[in-house]
Symmetry: C2
Subunit: 236 residues, 2 copies
């Protein structure tokens, strides 16, 4: 029986990555005078993001700083103040966008009667808090954890705080790397609902669902059915 459902935030409960995709496109427009190969630009952004990840962590502020750094590198220091200003504004737009729930999220999170719900998300602290507040869903979660990295440690810490054994937990997220792997390593059940876009930094050679033992769903609306199946199989 599943007592607790832990949800990821960005691209699981609300749309996020499409904003980054748009930011990349606008960044490419700014850099057009200096770089004409879009693939080269994307690879350079990813290299800078990965290099800065240990210092900046996830989130829009570090992403914006990495874009500025990439712009300086690829322009050979020739990028101009007004162009940097455009990159800054593009970063601020990421922090300031309205929160739009994904299809089915409002209904499903309001109808999981009898289950305890938690939210586990990563990124800039204030930005995540602000999105949770604006989502209108905050009251539905018994516990909200904003962490700098989702790994075995942070996932196990959440389960300890919830005082629930892992086999009674289902993690629902969009990233195999950040949602499924830590949950499975902790002994919890996991389901991934792939989002239209996945950040380059989240991409891994995905383990076979059968091998790692996780579920792939088409939408949030399939979560209640999965929960019913998991409840059944644990009592068989």
């Amino acid at each position: 029986v599943i007592d607790v459902v832990v949800f990821d935030g960005d691209d699981t409960l609300w749309h996020s990555e499409h904003l980054f995709v748009d930011a990349h496109a606008r960044f490419a427009d700014v850099l057009a005078p200096y770089v004409d190969d879009r693939d080269h630009l994307e690879r350079a952004v990813e290299v800078v993001e990965r290099r800065n990840l240990g210092l900046f962590g996830y989130g829009a502020k570090g992403f914006t700083l990495s874009l500025i750094e990439t712009a300086i590198e690829l322009s050979g220091g020739q990028i101009r103040g007004n162009e940097v200003q455009t990159i800054l504004e593009l970063g601020k737009a990421l922090l300031d966008h309205p929160v739009e729930l994904l299809d089915g999220v409002d209904e499903v999170t309001s109808t999981l009667a009898g289950r305890r719900l938690a939210l586990l998300t990563k990124g800039d602290l204030l930005h995540q808090e602000s999105k949770i507040a604006r989502s209108g869903l905050a009251e539905r979660f018994e516990r909200v954890e904003i962490v700098s990295e989702k790994d075995d440690t942070t996932f196990s810490r959440l389960l300890a705080a919830l005082a629930v054994p892992p086999e009674r937990v289902l993690m629902v997220g969009n990233s195999v790397r950040s949602d499924v792997v830590p949950a499975r390593a902790s002994g919890a059940h996991a389901a991934v609902i792939p989002y239209r876009y996945l950040a380059a930094i989240e991409r891994i050679d995905e383990p076979d669902p059968a091998t790692l033992g996780y579920h792939v769903l088409g939408s949030m609306r399939e979560v209640p059915g999965l929960l019913a199946d998991l409840d059944l199989s644990s009592t068989r």
Copy 2:
């Protein structure tokens, strides 16, 4: 009797603001070709920081973005890529500096036998976690909370998580605005240990210690004595 001592992190347990003071000086050097009035520059930085606070929150990443924004504004968009690069590096140096404990912190936090200790800090999540880990003090705290803003709500939430009545709590920090005021509003005792520097954004017209009822200490080494006094006065 005081059961729980809650410590602030930056400029209470470890040095921090001197790094920002140094960053301001290096920023002034970068801007020297565009701005010769240092006071004007400092005021402009503060205006931009305050304007961005609701979006960026506290911490070195938002500070760095605000410095870049200030540089673009004050140079009329003339700032060059290599100058922006210098500002970026100055921001990274803030995130990467070694953690140096303030005088007395190691001894005092290790000798408060019988008290429960907590840490309440604000700023970039990953940066604060990294400083706590590198401080070598993490094991001494029953609870560590990194928040986006220190106010009545976050302070009261910490006390609820610790399950302690406010009159049995002493908050120790360096900022009247962020440490004393929320603690007093929640009914806890509070002591301020002023640091050599206080960020512009933390400055308030400080309420009289007698009116607001808080203690002003010269150093961390005075905390055990204050605790003894508070224990005594509560049993009289």
